[in-house]
Amino acid sequence: MSDLALRPPGWKMPNLPVWSWSFLAALLVWVLSFTIAGQGAGGMLVAALSFSAFTVMVGLGQMFVITLGPGNVDLSIPATIGLASAVAMKVMGGQDGMIAVGLLAALGCGLLIGGFNYLLIRLLRIPPIVATLSASLIIQSVGISYGRGLQIKPPPALTDATFARLLGVPVLAIAAIVLSVIAAILLQRTIYGRTVLAAGQNMRAAHFAGLSVERARLLTYILSGGLAALCGALLAGFSGGSSLSMGREYLLSSIAVVVLGGTSVAGGRANVPGLWGGALFLFMVSTLLNTAGFGSGLRDVFTGLIIVAGIAITGTRQALR
């Protein structure tokens, strides 16, 4: 997987690439948890891949946004997941034949939200945090009023697809890997991706180098909205229906996997493989705490501490550069 490491050509290879740490940590926790449980190593891995697929999907969008530079973050992801899942379920109406249409409708809804976010940022000249925050308040209300009393089961074929496996590997995970590869190519080998990386390092310099910074920002927020929506629709299939609070945990986890995966929170450097390491690690930790008999409270406490510790450590690295 090392060819996927998104370092610009010519980055000096340290002893171990940054993203491998998150994988090592995930591996360690995995071994620890099935040792404690005494069984279920394989099942745990399959579950980890399935759940990580969702985290990585939203994490990809968040990674592009964060790479745009300081102040850029998409806080509307949870609301988007909630609304898009409701839209998908309503359009599909439980019929297998409508799956494609439902997915497209959810996707369209995510793209619109992304565009709306950017519009707020640009027209109101406000930091992305406030823009995506105000948008998420509105999206929540739209979601509640749209999804009121909505208890539509997902089409059976969609549910089956989210649980299907190919050679033992969840199909969802394969799809997320394909998306990751596309994202890696987008980031490194297209003008759009280079613009995102350049703007994240130095916005003025990117502008003076003739890059279309604003267009790249628009595309990035649209991308993030679209990926969150796609995640929402699939998540509804996976968990047997939509719910508005379904996206809640993805705000933290989308940012956490980006941070733990070695993407620079200061912008300008992104890391796709690290997302997977971070996502697997987060899942393994919560499994470990579950196995060890800890409740959700302690799990949250640990997750929070891991994120603060992770950012404090990577922060030092940036300061040393």
Binding site: V73, I126, A312
Partner: protein
């Protein structure tokens, strides 16, 4: 954020600049008047002692959380953990304050300490406060669940009595709002060290060149945020008389929105405590006001309850748009 291309100073005449500032400063008060007028138009009886008491009963905890957020924003940082922190404080208070007051106080003091540590991490490691406080939000939420796995507990008598007190003539929320606004104004805007604290957000280098420690100032501001977060949790328990780990998760968004409506800015250390309190009141009223608005073409003639949050979001956008229009008109 657009790219600031002109490096040299603005060519604006000083008169225009200060007029613009006055207009922007008047925006929170104007929006409060508009919302009150709208409520009065649809339901005149709501603008009364008891009506205001009812509509604003949750405004005080929100206003205090907004002040906490504003303290953090003054240092050009952002606190995404304030909602969970207020929930944590509420759980501690409702669970331990009556039976084991010392333990409760220790836990609350620990909360302030964590806030101060967060400031140290953010400043020394030069990492974005959004990520640190987002991590902390899980930390607080987890602790709150550990303390109070199910909703319940009881408000200590003194808090319940305080929040149920009915002072003569002025409804309690209005009285407290004025006290908070004026008090924090004196603390941050009129005190001599307050000038230094705000200066850090405006030009940290200038403040450190004058011999002040930026780290100390940031720690002080975060500690203040912790204190106001605790006050918010205490009043919240006093109002609702029991606690639940998730009871204040919405406060994170509300506090940012309130501070922004009140005229605070994300960079440059510009804050306004009185504006922040007004911002919190406006958001609270805007949500309650929805119940009174009669809209003929909607089913039932009323705006549905679920649009409360959305109305707050739209209110925020409208205020921000008005700000942009003011600065455009002045150019």
């Amino acid at each position: 954020m657009t790219i600031g291309l002109a490096r040299t100073g603005s060519g604006q005449a000083p008169g225009a600049a200060s007029r613009q500032r006055v207009l922007r400063g008047a925006l929170p008060a104007a929006s409060l008047l508009i919302v009150l007028a709208a409520i009065w138009y649809f339901n005149p009886r709501a603008i009364s002692y008891f009506g205001l008491n009812l509509m604003l009963n949750l405004a005080i905890p929100v206003a205090l959380a907004t002040i906490a957020q504003m303290c953090v924003m003054a240092t050009n940082e952002l606190d995404l953990s304030i909602g969970s922190f207020v929930g944590f404080v509420a759980c501690v208070t409702a669970t331990y304050m009556t039976s084991q007051p010392l333990l409760a106080l220790l836990m609350l003091a620990g909360g302030i300490l964590v806030y101060m540590l967060a400031a140290v991490v953010v400043h020394l490691r030069n990492v974005p406060s959004i990520v640190v406080t987002l991590g902390l939000s899980f930390f607080w939420a987890g602790l709150a669940v550990l303390i109070r796995p199910t909703p319940g507990g009881a408000a200590p008598a003194f808090l319940r009595d305080l929040m149920r007190w009915q002072p003569p003539f002025v409804p309690l929320p209005v009285l407290l709002a004025v006290l908070i606004g004026v008090g924090v104004h004196l603390l941050l805007m009129r005190s001599s060290y307050g000038a230094v604290l705000r200066g850090v957000g405006g030009n940290a280098r200038a403040v450190s060149r004058a011999g002040w420690s930026i780290l100390k100032a940031k720690v002080a501001m975060f500690a203040l945020a912790g204190v106001f977060g605790i006050l918010s949790g205490l009043t919240l328990v006093g109002v609702s008389s029991s606690a639940d780990a998730n009871m204040a998760t919405g406060y994170t968004l509300l506090s940012i929105a309130g501070a922004v409506i009140g005229g605070a800015e994300f960079i440059g250390g510009r804050i306004s405590p009185i504006g922040a309190v007004i911002g919190a009141l406006v958001l609270q009223l805007a949500a309650s006001a929805l119940n009174f608005f009669k809209v003929p073409f909607l089913p039932g003639g009323r705006i549905p309850q679920e649009w409360q949050v959305g109305a707050q979001g739209m209110f925020l956008i409208v205020i921000l748009a008005a700000r942009v229009l003011i600065s455009k008109a002045e150019k």
